[in-house]
């Protein structure tokens, strides 16, 4: 037997260290710790790596601090579109979804594609329909709304209206 290990991330990019308060940093570290613990608990109970990564990502999707699930950012149409994927190292089985909205945990949608279909990748309305059909937990738009993300969209649109480059690498964040 191997000593189990797990790693998680909650996104990378420009963190604007000058804006990071002690309180914010504490909240991020707390969210990361909870998510890691969710996966670690699975591994400690001799659970599978697939179950562990699912548990950790579900915890991150429920935390509005992170850009996935409940904390997802907005498109230029003021909508949210979520993508997720999962892959099992035992047999290279994989599942992915793109452009979905509604499932509380997009990672479970990806996992269902992997385990319940002969497909690897479902997108858009077909993927949403699949999620509803298999009974994944669906949440309304209010569940996913966060003022912080809406404000970020408005600021970015304002910047573009003022001549800011759409693809300015320093402004791309997600």
């Amino acid at each position: 037997l191997v000593k189990p290990v797990i790693a998680i991330h909650g996104g990378a990019g420009t963190m604007r260290s000058k804006d990071m308060t002690e309180e914010k940093e504490k909240a991020y570290r707390h969210g990361l710790t909870l998510a890691l613990e969710a996966g670690r608990a699975v591994l400690k109970a001799n659970g599978s790596a697939v179950d562990a990564v699912t548990a950790s990502v579900m915890a991150l999707e429920d935390d509005p601090l992170f850009n996935a699930g409940r904390g997802a950012v907005y498109t230029t149409n003021r909508t949210q579109e979520m993508d997720a994927a999962i892959m099992d190292g035992r047999d290279r089985n994989a599942g992915a979804v793109a452009g979905i909205f509604g499932p509380r945990h997009p990672v479970l949608a990806a996992r269902a594609v992997m385990e319940k279909t002969e497909h690897v990748f479902l997108a858009g309305e077909g993927a949403n329909e699949f999620c509803r059909e298999i009974g994944l937990e669906i949440k309304p738009a209010e569940w996913f709304y966060t003022e912080r993300r809406m404000k970020a969209l408005e600021q970015e649109m304002e910047r573009r209206r003022n001549g800011g480059e759409e693809n300015d690498p320093s402004r791309r964040h997600g």
Binding site: V5, A12, R40, G69, I86, A96
Partner: protein, 132 residues
């Protein structure tokens, strides 16, 4: 974007990634997260990878599978392969990071951006977190 990679007691690895994309993205834009081989990858023989950052660059570089290939064919270590890919991405303008583990229980978390929200438990069983 969020993600997780793990190696269980049986030496099996897995990876998962989930994202809302990027703020003010064009509707319908898909980043690397759901693209198998770009932002997500797992194979017991090599590694499990979950990436985050400028998705288009990770797709163009087939970043996660590139790490697999460097280990499989180039005989690089997990650390060497992951660091090389993150370093190479800078050359084409790609910014971000990734987390990776292998079936031996090695963990690495390289990034080329200012920071990456991350946490890990290595073989010591301790929880570590980092931002910058």
């Amino acid at each position: 974007t969020v993600g997780a990679v793990a190696c269980d007691v049986f030496g099996h690895v897995a990876a998962a990634t989930s994202t809302g994309g990027m703020t003010a993205k064009f509707p319908g834009r898909v980043g690397d997260s759901p693209v198998i081989g770009a932002g997500t990858w797992a194979d017991d023989k090599t590694c499990a990878v979950s990436a985050t950052g400028h998705g288009e660059y990770f797709i163009r570089y087939a970043a996660a599978h590139e790490i697999d290939a460097r280990i499989r064919w180039g005989k690089e270590t997990l650390e060497e392969a992951a660091q090389s890919v993150i370093k190479d991405l800078v050359k084409i303008g790609g910014e971000g990071g990734l987390i990776a583990v292998n079936a031996k229980g090695e963990v690495c978390l390289p990034f080329n951006s200012e920071g990456m929200y991350r946490a890990w438990m290595g073989q010591d069983g301790e929880i570590h977190t980092g931002i910058y």
